[in-house]
Amino acid sequence: MSWKWIFAMAWRDSRSNRRKLFLYMGAIIVGVAAQVAIMSFRENLNESINNQTKELLGADLQVQRSAPLQPEVVAYLDSLSPNQARMIEFNSMAYFPKNGATRLSQIMASEPEFPFYGTLITNPKEAINFRTQSNGAYIDNRIMLQLDIHVGDSVKIGLNTYHILGGIIDIPGQSMAASFLGPRIILPFDGIETSGLLERGSRLLYTTFVKYPPNVDAKVIVEELEAMKDTLSFGFDDVAERQNEIGEAVNYLSNFLNLVGFIALLLGGIGIASSIFVYVRQKISTIAILRCLGVSSNQALFIYLIQALFMGFMGSLFGAILGSLVQLYLPVLVQDFIPVEIELFISWSSILLGLLTGIIISTTFALIPLLAVKKIPPLFTLRTAHIKLLQVLDNATKSLLTLFLIFGIVGYAWLMLQDMLTAVYFTIGLGVCLLILTSISVLIMYMARIFIPSSWTYEWRQGLANLYRPNNQTTTLLLTFGLGVTLISSLYLTQDLLLGTINFEGEDELPNLAMFDIQYDQNDGVNEIITNYGLDVMQNVPIVTMRLESLQGRTTQEILNDTNRVAKRWALNREYRSTYRDSLIETETLLEGEFIGTVNSLNAPVPISIEIELMKDLGASIGDTLIWNVQGIPIISYISSTREVNWQTPEPNFFVVFPKGVLEPAPQFFATTVSTPNQDISLSLQREIVVAYPNVSAIDVSQIVGTIREFIDRITFVIQFIGFFSIVTGLIVLAGSAATSRFQRIRESVLLRTLGANKNQVIKIQIIEYTFLGVIAAFIGLFLSIVTTLIIGYFFFNINFTPNFTIIFIEANVLILLVLFIGLLNTRGIHARPPLEILREEGT
């Protein structure tokens, strides 16, 4: 076989078609770019995590407990290393006397030795040097800007007032997103007890950070701590563990993004297959001539395979370059969620993998039509015959290619998801979507063939007939653009669905301000302030903290030690905050048993109501006996009922509800909810309460909603950014498909013009065809995305989804216009020039 001639022939053959082949290349560029960008980004991120390992924790080890560490643990840590730093974390209201602003904040009272690794970065930079000042505080820079607070101003936390020394830019091991939950405030460890916040109901977290001396075997320490942690009830994290956790999270995110990007690549593949189909169809006579002159079937195949390979390679190369550039932008999108500083470098392995994936995908998809080249007989030089390319391939070849594709997709998805079952589901899901879209396109072509009324005008009949005529773009467009729309619209609608669940604005009957940690002796005072504002106290709920001591006669410790236990650790170990009342509230539904609201005798076991998920996680059932340790006093109870709770409301909800008549004498605090008419009154009320009762925390629902909205927006933007690649691919494929059929379109329009059709009629026919294609692709894509979102909502979030038709209407119009624009772009310039001139030029 003369390779030199084959290459020369491939080059010559491509001459007049390079513009069309460039679009073919475009289909792969975007997909590869998405792959390379995400893979490079992951490489960068993993490398950054490896380089900044110790900074992830700020120490070698952290040991935590919701109360001061037990003396045994303290002694053990002392034996490990003298380099220790303690920290107490809790949430509390911060009050800024300068302008009266209040904000629920995350307080970290830490010794100045923390962090041992990495640097606490402040604004101004040198502010960190004053850290030993006993009344100095550092506050999230973001919140300082928001509330117009400056260095030198003061902040009141509980009973203490601190001078603000600087703004927090970065805390080692924490991402910016940590500040979304409330501004972080670092205070000195010494003197925090005088704030009056350590005893009064606040949830506290005591942490000791340890820096190991040299030559310590970290694994041994982990084993020893592991042995102690259950009996002494504490938790711990070391650098290796934290690195694993973050690494896993990064991999999950990047694998997910990669898969979304992979869909763009597959769409590109479909685009390639369809454009090569049209390309080969146009080349049938050339192939027949070559066969006639003595070209073997393999030589004929290689002439076209070389062109496809070259374009696939070039497309992948440009894609890799583009992907490496996009990679520079990705950190901007996610830096806030990542606890390390992302270092950027070129990842050659990602580029290579992207190139390889691009070439394999483009070649495999191109092979489907290209293998038919081998079957084109030289006899076609003597008589023109109509050939269906797919039909000339034997079933074995078709099955082999299909299997290769299926295994390829499953394999890639498996590589990305690390889970075979999910990879198979992904492939099946994709297959089902493609099958639905193909079936719909077949149906549309069938309907267009039989249902176009003869009474319609000529332009309408022609335009719609173009949907099923040879070289039509119906299937290609529906597959690529339709799938792209399905994907991106599903993401958009899911985001809308999630945001919808937290959108309480405008619902007057719901509270928008919740106050927690109100002590027993403060309750009346707080209620009075609320009433003085002319507002109603919507709920005033008592809360009693307790721990589970035993379940069905077995202590929690015994259950924890049982390797065959059903009960989950969190359910056995947690500190419960329970309430007591005589009836169910609106957010609760009784599922089983009887809700008993009042008891009169303390001698019998107390009937309690348990939330259904907790009951499952305890492995308990109705009638089971539970003993609670209510701040030192055991209370025997039994499960009399189980409830379903709607947690997505601002009201305080509870896992365990006691009847009235039992917990009233126990130490307790209160949560109160109010509906304020506007933000000004809400802020003013919060300020007054915090000034009077500094330990009371207020959760402003509108602020929380804003925060969650920002969080979801950012996360979905990242996903949509990658999902957008598939829409772009869909458009490129559409442009490619339109370009490859351009010659036929031109011939038709020239013929029509020759027969007397005017320019406007020809344009009208095209507008009708592309508008119809756009309408179908957009609506089917949107319909599928609504179904997908319904499924996601129902199975993953347990939310009933009501589609937002305004959004869908806007989306649909934009998509239809895009299709129309690209379709008409393809016929540009052919209306103004003489028909023969165009035919000669295009026919080469």
Partner: protein, 236 residues
């Protein structure tokens, strides 16, 4: 005289649903080397199908074609392609030039395929294009040439591999009378100078009359087979 083409019991049946149609039905004839032959017959008589079978472009349902001593029936499609490249030249009614190649590139294809040196091939292609009167249009694409010019390029291509036998399917069918006559002259002259055997399929009896032998096909069978005497041939 040595036989370059032997056609034995050649049959080609096309199936259309449950119906079978024998387009070529048990045809037998031989073609002598260096002879000029015409296959004539009305439209649909099976003459083009017969040409396709003789040139190894199609496979018969039964019977055999032996070309230059090679039985084509036992060969695969790729092996037949080699035979075509080595021994056969083609001229088609619709010219069948490759639109993406220039005139000279079109002419060069058969020899390039053999792997001959490009300089030699180019020189030979130029020579042939000069012979057909297109020496100044070597770098034009088919769409930039008239029908007659395209057919002249096709003739140059047909002769470049010094074929033993040239099959021409209605070579003047798409051309006006004057151009058609010019093309006829070219084919006959080159055929003579290259000592090629010519098999011409036409329904133009005037053209057929210019050949040594006329095989008339009707309903897939040979209706008549007329040979001219040596005297008649020499008068042509």
């Amino acid at each position: 005289m040595f036989k370059i083409l032997q056609v034995q019991e050649l049959t080609r049946i096309f199936k259309s649903g449950s119906r079978e149609l024998a387009v070529v039905n048990k045809v037998n004839f031989d073609i002598e080397i260096g002879s000029v032959n015409a296959i004539v017959g009305p439209s649909g008589s099976g003459k083009t199908t017969l040409l396709g079978l003789c040139a190894g472009l199609d496979k018969p349902t039964s019977g055999e074609v032996v070309l230059q001593g090679i039985p084509l029936g036992s060969l695969s499609e790729d092996e037949r392609a080699k035979v075509r490249n080595k021994h056969i030249g083609f001229v088609f009614q619709t010219f069948q030039l490759i639109p993406t190649l220039t005139a000279i590139e079109n002419v060069m294809v058969p020899l390039e395929l053999r792997g001959d040196s490009s300089k030699k091939v180019k020189d030979r292609a130029k020579e042939l294009l000069n012979e057909v009167g297109l020496g100044d249009r070597t770098h034009h694409y088919p769409t930039q040439l008239s029908g007659g010019e395209q057919q002249r390029v096709a003739i140059a291509r047909a002769f470049i591999n010094k074929p033993k036998i040239l099959f021409a399917d209605e070579p003047t069918g798409n051309l006006d009378t004057e151009t058609g006559q010019h093309i006829e002259h070219l084919i006959f002259n080159l055929n003579k100078s290259q000592k090629t055997t010519l098999v011409l399929v036409t329904h133009d009896l005037e053209l057929a009359e210019k050949c040594d032998r006329i095989i008339k096909i009707k309903n897939g069978k040979i209706d008549s087979d007329t040979r001219k005497t040596i005297q008649e041939v020499s008068q042509l």
